[in-house]
């Protein structure tokens, strides 16, 4: 898997997101900040949807690096129990079926599926959905 950035995903199959744990307070954040205040920590693969919306128009480029052809996508905040709430795409689900509290699992997707060597970005899908 070609990740969009170093240090976002573990090298396992399937991968996990890498968060940062504050050495002093134990607070977990995502992504892991640079510097020595936070220790990298793999985050849980499953969680529940905390909130969401749909990006209905193509964001400005720069910074958006997605394909020119735009189709709306859902983006949500996913609560990983006991860790933190991470922001990521919500995929493989109809917008009308999205509900706060639904169970989700990490399922990275390509930023541009038609690219020659697509980069993978953080995303979650309903548990049990075939990607």
């Amino acid at each position: 898997m070609h990740a969009i950035a170093e240090g976002l995903f573990t090298n396992e199959t399937p991968p996990r997101l890498i968060g940062g744990r504050d050495r002093a307070s134990g607070r977990v954040v995502f992504p892991c900040p640079e510097g020595d205040r936070f220790d990298p920590v793999p985050l849980g693969r499953t969680g529940t949807l905390w909130s969401w919306t749909v990006q209905r128009y193509r964001p400005k480029s720069p910074p958006y690096a997605g394909p020119d052809a735009f189709r709306p996508w859902a983006v949500g905040y996913v609560e990983l129990p006991g860790e933190t709430i991470v922001e990521a795409r919500v995929v493989n689900v109809d917008f009308a079926a999205i509900r706060i509290g639904m169970a989700l699992e990490l399922a990275p997707v390509a930023l541009d599926p038609d690219a020659h060597d697509p980069v993978m970005i953080p995303a979650f899908q309903p548990i049990g959905v075939a990607a």
Binding site: I4, A5, L8, G19, R27, V28, V29, F30, P31, W50, S51, W52, T53, V54, Q55, R56, Y57, P59, K60, P62, P63, Y64, A65, G66, W73, V75, G76, Y77, E79, G82, E83, T84, I85, V86, E87, R89, F95, I100, L111, I121, P122
Partner: protein, 387 residues
């Protein structure tokens, strides 16, 4: 200094789009109007604080107003820029160092959503690459959670926008001056669910100037005393949910609401003024999107979380209601020129306290007025005026 800081002159350049007039020129227009309103000339201004986010350095306006050597400090503070300029100006008078000065704000933004770069917010480049550096996404996700927790319906979002355009029709400085029906608002295309395009404000242009004076100076000028009883500016506490957040902390274990910069700025302002939310006769609350007005009603202490559903259905925040909110249509009708937006709210409150609101005048001779701005990355500014 004894007594209160008073607002003795106000001026505004119409918000919206004014092709061919720079943001700075709109600021100069507002200053000249405020000087005329106060009955003084530029030579009497002892100091100035100016805010602009995207339209150049405010202090360059001395070229247009007069090279008097006046102290002029530029302020950039995100959406709280105008509030920060006003806060600083009143401190200069409270200190006893000066008795009359200026707070001015203006801006002129390109069309479309605000441009934000990850590095300016301490974020990695990938966050922008994937398309999450978008303010409207945050607004959509924030209100979706709030509606889920507190039983707010989309119709109530629509009612906020409907009120904004109805009020804006009566405000000469507003941008959107045509009423829009609730049906049109609800049926319009979605931008970021659950918000339709009428539920978001747009970046805009405009200028506002306020002349502040010591109470002694205000009496000399023979102006009605509009007293600035409190002006606060605060940053976010731990655990708040802010724009451009790749992660947010888990909900507080004790079930209490998340802390916000608004809650702190508001509580401090009420304490300084020695009054409470029930004493306020008119309020201007940050409404960059319809749900912001609802959340800010609660965060500023005017109602309980969830009570907005009933408040809006009963028209309690209408101009003739128990607590009129955003009497000039707020950001939804006026647009948001960042440097000027917070000062517009104070301008509108001075108009209301003087009884000059025309078709949008709050009845019953209001004596107290409240303003609130909020912005990235978790800043808020509040003022309380009394007449």
């Amino acid at each position: 200094m004894s007594g209160d800081v008073c607002i003795v002159g106000v001026g505004i350049h119409r918000f919206g789009r004014t092709d061919g007039v720079s943001g700075l020129e709109q600021g100069v227009f507002a200053v000249n109007q405020a000087l005329g309103d106060a009955g003084i000339d530029w030579q009497q201004i002892q100091f100035a604080y100016g805010s602009s986010d995207a339209a150049g350095n405010p202090d360059t306006m001395v070229e247009r107003l007069g090279l008097t050597g006046v102290q002029f400090i530029n302020v950039r503070n995100g959406c709280a820029a105008g509030g920060s300029a006003l806060f600083s100006a009143q401190m200069a008078i409270k200190s006893g160092e000066y008795d009359i000065g200026l707070a001015v704000g203006f801006d002129k933004h390109p069309r479309g959503a605000f441009d934000a770069k990850p590095a300016e917010y301490g974020l990695p480049e990938w966050y922008g690459d994937v398309g999450q550096m978008v303010t409207t996404q945050f607004f959509g996700a924030k209100i979706t959670r709030y509606m889920h927790e507190h039983g707010i319906t989309p119709t109530t979002l629509g009612r906020v926008a409907e009120k904004a355009y109805r009020n804006g029709a009566h405000a000469p400085h507003a941008w959107r001056r045509e009423p829009v029906s609730l049906e049109t608002i609800m049926d319009a295309p979605l931008v970021s669910d659950p918000y339709t395009k009428f539920m978001f404000c747009s970046p805009a242009e405009g200028g506002v100037a306020l002349i502040l004076a010591s109470e002694k100076k205000a009496r000399e000028l023979g102006k009605p005393l509009i007293r600035l009883k409190a002006a606060t500016m605060r940053t976010r506490p731990p655990g708040s949910f802010e724009v451009f957040a790749p992660s947010i902390d888990l909900d507080p274990a004790d079930g209490r609401p998340r802390g916000t910069a608004t809650r702190i700025a508001s509580a401090d302002a009420f304490r300084m003024a020695g009054i409470g939310p029930k004493d306020i006769a008119v309020a201007q609350l940050q409404d960059t999107e319809a749900g912001a007005e609802l959340m800010h009603m609660a965060e500023n202490g005017f109602c309980a979380d969830g009570a907005q559903e009933q408040w809006l259905a009963e028209g309690r925040t209408e101009v003739g209601g128990a607590l009129p909110v955003n009497t000039d249509g707020g950001c939804l009708a006026c647009g948001e020129p960042i440097g000027a937006s917070g000062l517009r709210q104070v301008y509108e409150n001075v108009v209301q306290l003087r009884g000059d609101g025309g078709g949008r005048q709050v009845p019953g001779n209001p004596k107290t007025a409240y303003t609130h701005v909020y912005g990235a990355p978790g800043v808020s500014a509040v003022t309380i005026l009394e007449r």
